[in-house]
């Protein structure tokens, strides 16, 4: 038991536990440090507790009821109302050399990556998207005017507009909970610790150790997605504050292998366009002067 848990022997509490994340995730949440998720897909059992906890805490409505026919994935995709999405990939067990009773299924709980250099935030023309004191990316609902420019900026298809309220929405990494010293709802609810919350540097070390361990026990395909220099951490993204341990290539999980940073294209584009304008202006000037 965590030493601090001794202070709270009863389940019926008369107050909020200060720094509760220390009990549930072993980390004290301090403004000015960088927090994120390490999602280890080898531990995911596809229970969708993260999806439910997220909807419950953030008061998010369902996107649609009904079955998709695509394995157990009836959530579909991340959206304005869905900030955790568990993907199911049914792989043929016999194609591997695993014993027959073992499942070859892949499951991954997807979420906003809270990029170090976030394209949605760079694109936002109102400053509604901002970087919090916990180094996470949040949309300020009282500022967003629903221009929708953050939506195509995201290389992961995370940010989405809600057509009902006309604002952009996405995972806030439970900004309100972090402010209160609480672990984000999805990570707290995860029964297998597939979703781990903590300080990014610490999580990255933990993840590297986990990959080593997996390689040792024979899962040679395990690798990290979204750490510096790894897939997903390419193209000037630096790293992703919410990163993943995967065992198949990124596309299998609907993740891009090498996303590029959109704002890197602003300058080449503007220079080419203005150079064209300048060239045509000079040509027109010469013509207008000559035929005067």
């Amino acid at each position: 038991m965590h030493p601090r848990a001794v202070e709270h022997s009863q389940s019926d509490l008369d107050r909020v536990i200060p720094d509760e994340a220390e009990l549930t995730a072993g980390v004290r949440i301090v403004p000015g440090r960088s927090y994120g998720f390490f999602t280890d897909t080898t531990l995911c059992i596809g229970c969708k507790a993260c999806e439910v906890a997220c909807k419950e805490w953030n008061n998010l409505p369902a996107d649609h009821l009904g079955l998709t026919g695509d394995s157990y994935d009836n959530t579909g995709m991340l959206s304005a109302n869905t900030w955790r999405h568990v993907a199911f990939i049914e792989r043929d067990v016999r194609a591997d050399n695993q014993s027959p009773f073992q499942s070859g299924w892949l499951m991954m709980s997807d979420v906003c990556k809270h990029c170090e250099n976030a394209p949605c935030m760079e694109a936002c023309p109102t400053g509604a998207l901002f970087k919090t004191e916990f180094n996470t990316i949040v949309v300020q609902q009282d500022i967003c005017n629903g221009c929708g420019y953050c939506v195509p900026a995201c290389p992961f298809g995370v940010v989405d507009l809600n057509k009902v309220d006309g604002k952009a929405h996405k995972c806030t990494l439970c900004y309100d909970r972090l402010k209160g010293g609480l672990e984000p709802a999805c990570a707290k609810s995860c029964p297998t610790d597939s979703i781990q919350f903590g300080e990014v540097a610490e999580l990255q070390q933990r993840a590297a150790r986990r990959v080593e361990k997996l390689h040792e026990i024979g899962v040679s395909s395990a690798y990290l997605y979204g750490t510096p220099g790894a897939p997903g951490g390419s193209g000037d993204y630096g790293h992703l504050n919410a990163f993943f341990l995967l065992t198949e290539r990124p596309e299998t999980y609907n993740l891009p292998a090498e996303p590029t940073r959109p704002s890197n294209r602003v300058l080449p584009s503007l220079v080419s366009g203005l150079a064209t304008m300048a060239g045509l202006t000079l040509a027109a000037l010469a013509l207008f002067t000559r035929n005067r």
């Binding site: 005017n145 195509p152 995201c154 891009p256 080419s272 304008m277 045509l280 027109a284």
Partner: protein
């Protein structure tokens, strides 16, 4: 890692398409190019020809008011919370072409407004003839902002993760810039009663169209190289390749070249070409936005595009 060949995740989109209304935003981009180009050309004509090009210069200054008025209205209408449009003026960010564009449009609105109002007042109100000098001073910064107005819209599309827009940022910007100048020259040519001036405007238009054709060819090659060209097989893509390129660029270029080589005296020929150019310029913007959306909603295209090169 080896090159990825599939499969996708149940063919579900990996990206989200921009929630822009392609007609509203495409219409704005067209008007921005038209107004910016018109301000540039009328400023050049005023500086070089002065009184002799008076009518066309006045028309150009009037056309320049389209983006600030109708164009801005289209932009606000496309917002999903339109009453907060003024939040665009909270910040200035060089990483966001939409923010850059907000300030370009604001500057253009100010300077073009001064130019047009001063011009109008100098003509109509006795004793205010001195305002003409104000119009001449304001038209230069207005023309510079106009150059930005006709091009930033390409950066706005390219600085996203939408494959078709991101695949060829330079070529797309050249295309948009050239189309802006071509549409403005075409519109001014329609208004020009002076044959010599019309011939010059048609020459500018033909030159811009030639640049646009070259940029389109380069862009198509980039699309093929990066594997996003399949988005051009969609209805929006066809509108681009057949409507905007063939009918709206190549045909009028041919008409103008034919007319100019034969002395440039045929007004119907010039008018026909001008109308095709204007239609093509509008279609091109709507089609590029639409086929970009197609490329974003197809995971095979977006996952292939975001491979290591």
């Amino acid at each position: 890692m080896d090159q990825w060949t599939g499969p996708t995740y149940y063919n579900r989109p990996q990206l989200k398409a921009a929630p822009f209304d392609k007609t509203l935003v495409g219409g704005y981009v067209f008007l921005a190019g038209l107004s910016g180009g018109a301000q540039m050309l009328s400023t050049l004509l005023d500086l070089t020809r002065g009184r002799k090009a008076r009518d066309v210069v006045r028309r150009g200054r009037q056309l320049a008011l389209l983006a600030p008025t109708v164009g801005s209205a289209l932009l606000v209408a496309d917002l999903h919370t339109p009453k907060r449009f003024y939040n665009m003026l909270r910040v200035a960010k060089r990483t966001s072409p939409m923010s850059i564009g907000t300030w370009i449009l604001s500057a253009f609105t100010g300077f073009s407004g001064i130019t047009a109002v001063a011009d109008f007042a100098a003509d109509r109100v006795p004793g205010l003839g001195w305002l003409r000098r104000g119009a001449r001073a304001a038209q230069v910064p207005a023309a510079v902002a106009g150059a930005g107005l006709g091009t930033y819209t390409a950066s706005l599309l390219s600085a996203t993760s939408t494959p078709l827009w991101a695949a060829a940022p330079r070529a797309l910007a050249v295309r948009f810039a050239a189309s802006s100048v071509a549409s403005a020259a075409a519109a001014l040519s329609l208004f020009s009663r002076d044959q010599k001036l019309r011939r010059d405007l048609d020459t500018v238009c033909a030159g811009a169209l030639a640049v646009e054709v070259a940029a389109t060819v380069v862009a198509d090659e980039e699309y093929r190289r990066t594997g996003v060209d399949e988005a051009l097989k969609s209805p929006s893509g066809r509108l681009d390749t057949i409507g905007a390129f063939d009918v709206g660029t190549v045909v009028p270029l041919g008409l103008l070249a034919f007319g100019l080589l034969h002395g440039g005296r045929s007004r119907p020929l010039s008018s026909m070409a001008s109308l095709a150019v204007l239609g093509g310029s509008l279609m091109m913007r709507i089609a590029v936005i639409g086929s970009g959306d197609v490329s974003a909603s197809r995971p095979d295209i977006s996952l292939r595009f975001m491979q290591k090169r």
